[in-house]
Point group: C2
Chain length 168, copies 2
Amino acid sequence: MPAIEREITRFQDFLSRQGQKLTQERTSLVREIFSTHYHFEADELLFKMKQKSVKISRATVYRTLELLVKSGLVRRVHLGEEHYHYEHVRGDSHHDHLVCTACGSVIEFNDPELEQRQLDICARKKFTPTFHNLQILGVCDSCHRKGEQPASPDRVMTIGEGAMKLRK
Amino acid sequence: MPAIEREITRFQDFLSRQGQKLTQERTSLVREIFSTHYHFEADELLFKMKQKSVKISRATVYRTLELLVKSGLVRRVHLGEEHYHYEHVRGDSHHDHLVCTACGSVIEFNDPELEQRQLDICARKKFTPTFHNLQILGVCDSCHRKGEQPASPDRVMTIGEGAMKLRK
DNA sequence: ATGATGTTGAGACTGAGTCTCAGGTGCGGA
DNA sequence: TCCGCACCTGAGACTCAGTCTCAACATCAT
């Protein structure tokens, strides 16, 4: 899959610019992230690697994610839960998220007018924005049709449900 | 200060509607929250109570915050850090936040046009929103004038800096 | 006074993430 | 080719925010 190779090259460029190396571990993490996951949690990634019998420690997963975020290949997002989620960036533009509190699905959207409005607000407040984070929680169409009730804002279903956590 | 008494009454009403009681501990927490804090962290509140020699356990602080959130007197917000912050709601309308990554200050704003635009997006995606959360990170005017550099998005200064954490 | 129900504090526990450190890896230069 | 050094890794201890448990306490209606 040439697309993934391109991401790996981009990561390597980023690393070598700061005297860091593209190791076996980092390569397999990038490969995993860009091949199967979209929105994922750090521990979920760790678990997947374990499943595939690729031995990578928790520390390396976190360290690599930090590098990927710095390199711009991966974005760190809040989706209404305590901890972070990550998503890969494939050169596509910025977007925000609608998160279904019933089934955990995530819908992305990008609305230039909304973005512009935010810039206007910042200008009005003499604030220099670097970054923003918007999640809208609610119920998606298919859950709504099933009559799902919205969960209360502080009780949101886990996104990466599938990933049974196993430590050690 | 009569305003605080009004909030306490509102909380009591909420509690008694579900057969719960307004205890001494709960009262003093509400008093503390509504008198001095605006955006605060749970542990910061615990620390303040300790400073004032009001003995309240960690568990009670968290339990009371949960009740306050449910009652609508307090809102739980993400301000770009791992953990939650809380803010009291004084009958004022919904707002979002500009968070300065240099000095940690928080500017609130409420922009009906922005809110409306979000509703439009949800309608377009057939999504039923219940709640949303927008933080814009960046540098505030006074920090900008001091030539402060924006921190990277994943390294944000603590909002409640003052509160030295001391456990136990 | 009794019992039912609700509340509390202490401290054990959890889950996500960070840090440390000894050992491993790999590349540039002699 | 070999060496040295900077970089990288895994294991596990640690931290921090938040939750849970449980025994003791408070309150209220009967």
